[in-house]
Amino acid sequence: MPRVLLLIFMLLGASGTAVAQTSAAPADDAGQTTMASPEGEDRPSESVAPGVSKEEALRTSLAKFKSRDFDVKAEAIETIARSGHERGEALLQALLDRELLHDLAGDRIVLGKQSEQGWALRDPISEEDVGSAEARAARPVIINNRLRQQIRDLKSVTALANPNPLARREAAQRLVGNTDPVVLDALRARQAEEANPLVKGVIDTALNIAVLRDPASQLNERLNAIDAVAGSLEPAVRNVLRDRLAQSDAAAERNAADRALKKIDLRTERYETADTLFFGLSLGSVLLLAAIGLAITFGVMGVINMAHGELIMLGAYTTFVVQQIFPDGHEWSLLVALPAAFLVSAVVGIVIERGVIRFLYGRPLETLLATFGVSLILQQAVRVIFSPLNRSVVTPEWMSGALQINPIFSLTYNRLYIIVFALIVFFALQLVLKKTRLGLQVRAVSQNRGTARAMGIRSERVNALTFGLGSGIAGIAGVALAQLTNVGPNLGHAYIIDSFMVVVFGGVGNLWGTLTAAFSLGIANKIIEPMAGAVLAKIMVLVFIILFIQRKPRGLFPQRGRAAEE
């Protein structure tokens, strides 16, 4: 909970600084190394000062790259970063990317891209085309790891002034553990004016670590620093505390370090638990998506649809096909894939119901066999049409990456979205069952088919529609699963037993039971996994369910009343 609050603070901070930044914008040339606002009055004179001289200074610095001496190059990097010229950052990046060249023929420093003929050269500042050079007539400016680190640090220092607090925090995080005096000065300067508490926290940590690393620091300074960093989850903090514990000759400091380390361990453990829970929830929501369609068909019609997994697979393949149709639409094609997958699977489901299951009502074991046959046919059809190889679906940009809560705990977006999506599907389905006419009829038929028919409900039609609905949801589950795993003919097969376990564990005919079962099985699986390994965890969960069903043959939440009788 406190984390959420902090996040909100951060966002508030973000909008605040953004406003401040735009008002200062005209003066600020794309926010170079110089820090933001307070020195605003000095700034105009600087940028009004003839651009030419600034450019000349830059060119002088660039010329130093002709040298072979790394110290000279380091100096050049430093001056370029401090020049405040708008091209500074791009040039340093070019240096990192080996795109800054020493043109040997013209004895000048230029930008260049390698092409088939040699190098295409551009002016480093105006980016104008300045001709080309033979492959051997120019060579990239060589830098070593020290210079690379220097450039990265400088970039991070630059980013400390970024209007976006997330970027600032990331920059500060990169600088944690850094003891370079230039960097520390920049951090101190930023610390004085930083308004966002999260960013400030990271900067404080970085500075405190510097104090602990500094051999000249006083004991009480160090004790304060240890107190301040206790509980921080940065790996650098843990390292420095370990070093202090081992090296310090003051007992008070060793004790403080030890206490701080214990506190960190405790917090780490707590976040590891949270991590397990998150993975459990995401596995649970995958199970929920896979099982929920089955829960409807099984609950309402008492029919085991062994082809359910293959309907999921069809949904996944629909996603693949939609992406093939819109090769440029990875960001939004999911929105097309969702209804398309629902339709494809629903239609196939209705065809299965009308073509096969209709003849087998009242004979559940035969239905099981027949639908298994259908599943084999669907699987093989997919193998013939799409080849037996796995297909991969492109994950849209907004679903990749992770929400970094702290250095050791992050939520990956695709899993986060799947959890949310599973819950949306679940509640939408609840809504359909509770609030629509079809839902009413479905519930009536599932409670007592005979009476429902006597009340004028066309149970045949309800059967077909229910089956379509359940199958359509399987298709939607397929879209979601396609984001997590490879799309292949065996996709559905892998989920069918798990889905049944969820439905049976939760109790047939009870969607809330399915929800509870899915999440508890998912979490249980992830808790056992680190202790026993993935396969053993799965076996243990299966054995547990087998034993559980023997104790409670009707699942966690059995249906009450006559409907439950055979």
Binding site: A370, F372, V374, V504, V535, K538, I539
Partner: protein, 379 residues
């Protein structure tokens, strides 16, 4: 036709016909393989002998399933597990028979254990160098598993599709477990490279024929045993449980005991089938536990016709022959054919081929009698 003792089960017309055809065919194949020279057109290759032996093992497995499904209404989707367990017990005996002739030449440890750097034989591998002990385990391991599993399941009245699904989960869990190297059964590769059985080389034609005959004897014996069981009072009660379990219970029968009994017997038969299967195909691996195998087995019984015993045997042989032909000629079509078979049999042929033949015969005898077969089909 009530058979109350073993002799009637052995001598009535169906049994005579079945055993006659079975042993006649096996005898002919055996003679054609051993006595006719290889150049002759009449020679039966040892490949065919082993193939036929394999079919007979499948038939025995189908018979075992028919006993629980056809006669007791328990649709087990995990019978492949009992089959595989019997197979593994036999495989362990055969592994121990390799002795120091393995690739690594270790005197006691099988190759895969040497490969995994194991120091000594795990405790559960001891005793498998004796054929008698191994045969005991072939029956005991599946039997005990079925007994414990059935005791838990039937006592708490898990029935119908629930039971089917948890039997499937059982075989799935076993498959995952056997895939692990740590379990000590060869992991992914299973047990293979067998050399000889009881001192006879598995490569010899005579050994193959002997195994074929052994399979035929086991199948014939199991057939007679099953007919006898279904004819006894106990077998009749089992059928009553199938048709109306609650009613049988209200009449005072402890239905769970009957189910448990028949389930265990069936599992032992499946284990024996597995044990005979392994030396003839030369390998046993965790794939045998896969749920697909178990469910495929159900379709053999369904194709042949449930609750007839010989129907299950016919179904197993026909479907597997079809599989051999199909996978040879057009492999990609086999799953279509199998899937289609599942659907067609359940929708159009609920009584299987035997039921179809019966109703055709009946129609022939009394041309205007309506087909009443469908009215009293087992649930």
């Amino acid at each position: 036709m009530r058979h109350s003792d073993l002799t009637t089960a052995l001598t009535d017309r169906t049994a005579k016909t079945f055993l006659g055809i079975l042993f006649g065919a096996v005898l002919i194949v055996a003679l054609l393989n051993l006595l006719v020279p290889a150049e002759s057109g009449l020679h039966v290759s040892s490949y065919t002998v082993s193939l036929l032996g394999k079919y007979l093992c499948y038939a025995l497995l189908a018979l075992a399933l028919d006993l629980v499904w056809g006669y007791c209404g328990i649709l087990s989707l995990g019978h492949g597990a009992f089959f595989a367990l019997g197979g593994y017990a036999m495989g362990m005996y055969l592994m121990r028979q390799i002795g120091d002739r393995g690739v690594y030449g270790h005197p006691t440890l099988p190759d895969f254990m040497v490969f995994l750097n194991w120091e000594e034989l795990p405790w559960y591998w001891h005793g498998f160098d004796s054929f008698g002990f191994a045969m005991l385990m072939v029956a005991l391991v599946p039997g005990v598993l079925a007994f414990v599993f059935g005791w838990l399941a039937f006592r708490s009245r898990v029935t119908g599709v629930y039971l089917s699904i948890i039997t499937q989960a059982l075989t799935y869990a076993l498959m995952l477990a056997f895939f692990r190297n740590e379990l000590g059964f060869g992991g992914n590769n299973g047990l293979t490279d067998f050399k000889d059985i009881l001192g006879f080389s598995l490569r010899e034609d005579s050994t193959r024929v002997a195994l074929l005959v052994a399979s035929a004897v086991a199948l014939g014996g199991a057939f007679v045993l099953s007919r006898w069981i279904t004819g006894t009072r106990l077998g009749r009660t089992v059928m009553a449980v199938r048709d109306a379990e609650s009613r049988a219970r209200f009449l005072g029968y402890r239905t769970e005991h009957y189910k448990l009994w028949i389930f265990t017997v069936s599992a032992i038969l499946a284990g024996i089938a597995g044990a005979l299967y392994v030396p003839q195909v030369g390998i046993i691996n965790p794939g045998e536990f896969s749920p697909l195998n178990s469910i495929e087995l159900v379709v053999w019984v369904a194709v042949g016709g449930r609750a007839t015993l010989y129907g299950a045997v016919i179904g197993a042989i026909l479907v597997n022959y079809g599989k051999t032909v199909f996978t040879g000629v057009m492999p990609e079509a086999w799953l279509f054919a199998l899937g289609g078979l599942f659907v067609a049999v359940t929708v159009f042929l609920p009584q299987g081929l035997v039921g179809l033949a019966k109703s055709l015969l009946k129609r022939k005898r009394q041309p205007d009698a309506t087909d009443k077969e469908a009215d009293h089909e087992p649930a």
